[in-house]
Symmetry: C2
Subunit: 441 residues, 2 copies
């Protein structure tokens, strides 16, 4: 018998994503039932203010502002779309302890308390599904858990935060300063009133933590991810990068550093930082609110996934997909069997970020009256320097000289750039940004 009895849903949160979930499961209930054999009944919805008017297709009596009332209601599946690690953590852990499966879109919860959440699901004999946590509606958890499971993943990198991507695209296309672009993003609803978590790289690091833990089979601590945001980027560097064939994006990257001896864990490099991406690289094409992930598996090679970013319905698309997975039993089967979740993987072995080699963009700025000589000055100051330059670019209008270096460890680069700068009369501190060449194209 394909048609199952309706699954009673306790919905924790009814903001942007929650109302999208409601819209999908109510308005296309018949279509979903025909295709998947599953019907959902929302019996209780947790909100912070029950008196607020909402454009969601739920009857008034299902709303509560009491987490314990939600947990005491009759339900088969908890859907958590509150966000944060406070009430969300409580309701998720209590539902799991009661043996109820959980679908969550909460990257912060999984990044900061993943092992605890997975262990609670294990102890409760149930499961947790979280396709919606990392890339809006783009399916990326599924491919990592399933389609790529024959691979040892060598690296995973991506553009995970559509707010940052929108701000960077606006700066460059609109010739705006960082501050103006953030205001524009807020005006259009792409950035929160307090955009700190996005622009500082925190949100990207949450998502990287969840994805890299699964992909690299290690229990990665969020705090160990090196993190730099976009808030100090200057339009000048975005423009010059484009002249040189690169685009600047906030990239999260997790990679195994060196081939490890058999049986030895490999050291992991984990970082979130503004990065110049060569225009032939797959990630370079992701503009505006698009996000994307590039996974390098040792058997399959590079596979790439991209989508049009977050928002109510795209993220709800992934939440509902997980709800169906829970209903079919597929989510439970996968959760039981795979040893890729933080509660059963070994602690990650981290490489010191100072030891990880990358190419770098280095910009030297001169006072306008010095621009005639500046290339000769840089060439002279750089001579005998152990860090090799791959190319040098001069922009007389901006009175800057830019070098792209060969791959180098940050501490060597820092010393080299200080040494070069010591011989120059610069108008400003040198700017250094890591570079991703076109390998991933």
């Amino acid at each position: 018998m394909r048609e199952k009895k309706p699954l009673r849903v306790a919905l924790a949160g009814c903001g942007t994503v929650g109302s999208g979930v409601g819209e999908i499961i109510v308005n296309r209930a018949g279509e979903l039932a025909a295709r998947t054999g599953v019907r959902f009944e929302v019996g209780c919805v947790l909100v912070s203010d029950v008196t607020r008017k909402r454009e969601v297709p739920f009857p008034a009596e299902v709303f509560t502002d009491d987490p314990q009332a939600l947990l005491a209601s009759e339900y088969d599946l908890l859907v958590e779309v509150i966000g944060g690690t406070d009430i969300a953590r409580t309701v998720v852990l209590e539902a799991l302890a009661a043996g109820k499966p959980v679908v969550t879109a909460n990257k912060a919860l999984l990044a900061l308390h993943g092992a605890e959440v997975y262990a609670a699901a294990r102890a409760g004999g149930t499961c947790v599904a979280f396709e919606a946590s990392c890339a809006g509606g783009l399916p990326i958890i599924g491919p990592l858990l399933r389609g790529l499971q024959a691979n040892r993943v060598r690296s995973i990198m991506g553009i995970f935060n559509s707010t940052c991507n929108f701000v960077l695209t606006s700066m460059l296309d609109g010739g705006m300063s960082y501050g103006d672009a953030v205001q524009e993003a807020q005006r259009l609803g792409y950035a929160e009133a307090d955009p700190t978590l996005d622009v500082s790289g925190g949100d990207t690091a949450h998502k990287l933590c969840v994805l890299a833990s699964l992909a690299l089979g290690s229990n990665i601590e969020y705090e160990r991810i090196a993190r730099r945001g976009i808030d100090r980027l200057q339009l000048t560097d975005l423009r010059i990068a484009r002249e040189m064939g690169y685009s600047c994006k906030l990239v999260g990257i997790g990679r195994r550093l060196t081939p490890a001896p058999t049986g030895q864990p490999q050291q992991l490099y984990l970082a979130v930082r503004p990065t110049l991406i060569h225009c032939d690289h797959l990630l370079a094409g992701l503009s505006g609110t698009r996000s994307g992930v590039l996974v390098d598996g040792d058997v399959v090679g590079e596979t790439f996934y991209s989508g049009s970013g977050a928002g109510s319905l795209p993220t709800a698309s992934a939440v509902v997909a997980d709800m169906i997975e829970v209903a079919t039993g597929s989510a439970q089967a996968t959760f039981n069997q795979l040893c890729v979740y933080n509660d059963c993987t070994p602690p990650a072995d981290y490489v010191d970020p100072e030891e990880a080699e990358d190419s770098y963009y280095v910009r030297f700025s001169f006072a306008p009256h010095r621009r005639a000589d500046m290339l000769a000055d840089v060439d002279h100051a750089w001579r005998d320097n152990p860090v090799k330059r791959l190319q040098t670019h001069v922009s007389r209008d901006d009175h800057v000289v830019v070098a792209i270096t060969a791959p180098v460890k940050p501490k060597l680069l820092g010393a080299a750039v200080r040494s070069v700068a010591g011989h120059l009369q610069l108008s400003d501190e040198p700017v250094m940004l890591p570079v991703l060449e076109a390998r991933g194209s």
Copy 2:
């Protein structure tokens, strides 16, 4: 207990993909078992010539050239990587009838006999998994079955045949004729000795049939897919397209034609044909042996998937992923519950390809001595024509004039072009190719 007892595998076929499967499951048995709790034991391997030397890690006694011996062996899972619809069909159907799950990489079998195969799995109380059938190692079946399940898919399109893509890239980058590029692809092992199935569009149509059936929820007949190959393409058009900002690829496309009244099935447009793709479209960036798929879902919007194409290990990556899915029980749970397979979906309602509107590239070729007047001649001949031109491009070196039309039905276009050509002294028949503008970027 996570560690399951070993799954005994009957492997039908030990060519390119089969030997890749053997390499993965033997050489990384310990790693797979640690991560997935699954061990595979290959007990019997069906090959056409048991005396041939093979670079695979199986003992000599497992090989047989008798399909009945394979089916009579003790196994828990049949892996079919023979290809074709002859022996492959027999062993798949017999294994399913015996209640054994099947993992297959065989797009031809599923395109031509999908409903029969799925029904056999249903009757046998087992399942069939086929992630490897459509895009090498790139997970695309998984996202369609799972991550995108909350969506009504509006269209699915992609570049599914790496041989064709390699030939087209070689023609353009190497300035080769079609024939020379095919020979080059054969020399490098990217094309079969008989490349007909690839270059005629047949292989692309097989894959489109499988993917579009799942994505659009209809039982699509392979024979109803309009099909045109790359074998009559000329280097001239590839070059001129590039000058105009387009690249030429063999594209498979399935889309719903019009919004249907509630409860009514929507007509489907299904075609495989050489297509000019605007350089800002996501599919345009797929060069060489890369393949990719663009899925437009009504909730999530456009999601895009790409990978580095077929070959032994990439395709084996997807086969082994499916073997793990069968072992965890996830494949069975999904197969039981979703009504998206050809044995339980309604027959597709096809639109007449002549009724589907597209923009077109139309090339008029002139004798060299006429090239001074050719633009004025085309403008004059086109005046009063009901088909609108969006742009017109002149290449005096090639003595051609190219028009890109507004969206138009093929039968109207054909009449319009014949009428224009009737007023011109052309050196050759006009060339017409459909155009994909940058919507998908």
